[in-house]
Symmetry: D2
Subunit: 140 residues, 4 copies
Amino acid sequence: MYTCDIHQRIRYGETDQMGYVYYGRYAEFYEIGRTELIRLLGMTYRDLESQGILLPVVKMVARYYRPAAYDELITIRTILRSLPTARITFFYEIYNEAGDLINEAECQLVFTDSATRKPVRPPKDLLDALKPFFTSRVNS
Amino acid sequence: MYTCDIHQRIRYGETDQMGYVYYGRYAEFYEIGRTELIRLLGMTYRDLESQGILLPVVKMVARYYRPAAYDELITIRTILRSLPTARITFFYEIYNEAGDLINEAECQLVFTDSATRKPVRPPKDLLDALKPFFTSRVNS
Amino acid sequence: MYTCDIHQRIRYGETDQMGYVYYGRYAEFYEIGRTELIRLLGMTYRDLESQGILLPVVKMVARYYRPAAYDELITIRTILRSLPTARITFFYEIYNEAGDLINEAECQLVFTDSATRKPVRPPKDLLDALKPFFTSRVNS
Amino acid sequence: MYTCDIHQRIRYGETDQMGYVYYGRYAEFYEIGRTELIRLLGMTYRDLESQGILLPVVKMVARYYRPAAYDELITIRTILRSLPTARITFFYEIYNEAGDLINEAECQLVFTDSATRKPVRPPKDLLDALKPFFTSRVNS
């Protein structure tokens, strides 16, 4: 398992007239989360793109438990639960300032060649950086 | 079953640097779809709110099959498959100009009292407008 | 002078907790306006881009007179007051359902070569389509 | 003069297919800037709202000099050049990672009573916090 926490302050423009963050804006929080998780591994999603690899989202599941309010400082926790194949699945937990779990989500993305737009294997350096966190314990 | 189709032209601001609509913007398409489905029933979501009923989203599932490009005229099909209880689930199919199914989704919302923020039963006039489309056939 | 009107219904996601459209979302209305003005001339902004011409915005001025509410059907009026040079300036007037002028704006864009990112002259077919609307009256 | 700097990392969802931040998204940067300037004064815009004061934007002027790219860490500088009256004008300078000035802007907002929606004087504690930075030099 590999986990990354990042904090974000809710923008006024992210709220809607219900007085809380618009449900569609959470997708940006998930995107921020995976961007930072990849940075924590010592590379950047921006570099992946410049190497010709795109990561389009193919599936998103989001569960909204409690609202998030303007100016709150939320915590976006991004979790990798398994090594990526051609697909990579990020899991998310979002917490408000009081520490309540307000949102859970899951985003599935596909490593895609930007020229052919076909699925490809994940970059070797990404896999190498992740492997230590997923190595099965070997019993003696 | 109750279905509503609405067309939308993709805005430049809805695209991202991958050259297609950003995955988070589809939530607005779903919102447009259910707004129009309710209008087709002879009422408006705006009226529901002024009657003190909010409809926060509690779950969204979205599957992205193909990208949508700037200036494309997409069709948002919104489908009710069952009568609402305190929850209402809208299903979505989005088609591009060529008629390809590019996205499928499902949004679950909860009828909520705007004062108490507690779940409530759906408004009677909404149920009455929907019932004819969900009446079970009675065998003679 | 060349003018184009287009209608848009306000999305829930465009409102903020003040209960009206967020001030930053008007930029999309202006973008919709100029997209439709160009279409009315018999071409598309999408075609301009595929011919290698980008139109980045270099200046925007917006004046907010009255708020726009969720589900309102606004009218976006886009006006060209002079023939474009390397720059093109679109003027905007936005009206609510009651016919009130709620917003005025101006966006300046620069015809830019997508390869060199340098300013270029506007495409000949765009100029040709516009000229009849800007020909000075010749006194006899 | 009173100044506040804040850093923001560009989100993927903020870019458009031109490959840079969409011009309409800068309004959120300006909003972040003034939120932080008010916080630096020891109060919050959120508190102003809970005291019944809204701050709708009545005018925005934005000049775009250079693009901002995904994942760049920009600096939003917010500047107050004079004490607010019923109006408050924030000036903005945005810098990219290389220190280039990429954007300048100005937003005018009106202190508004949330009940009557009429302009009001700025809150006393806001004025008191700002006055030391705007006291005129007294000649001996």
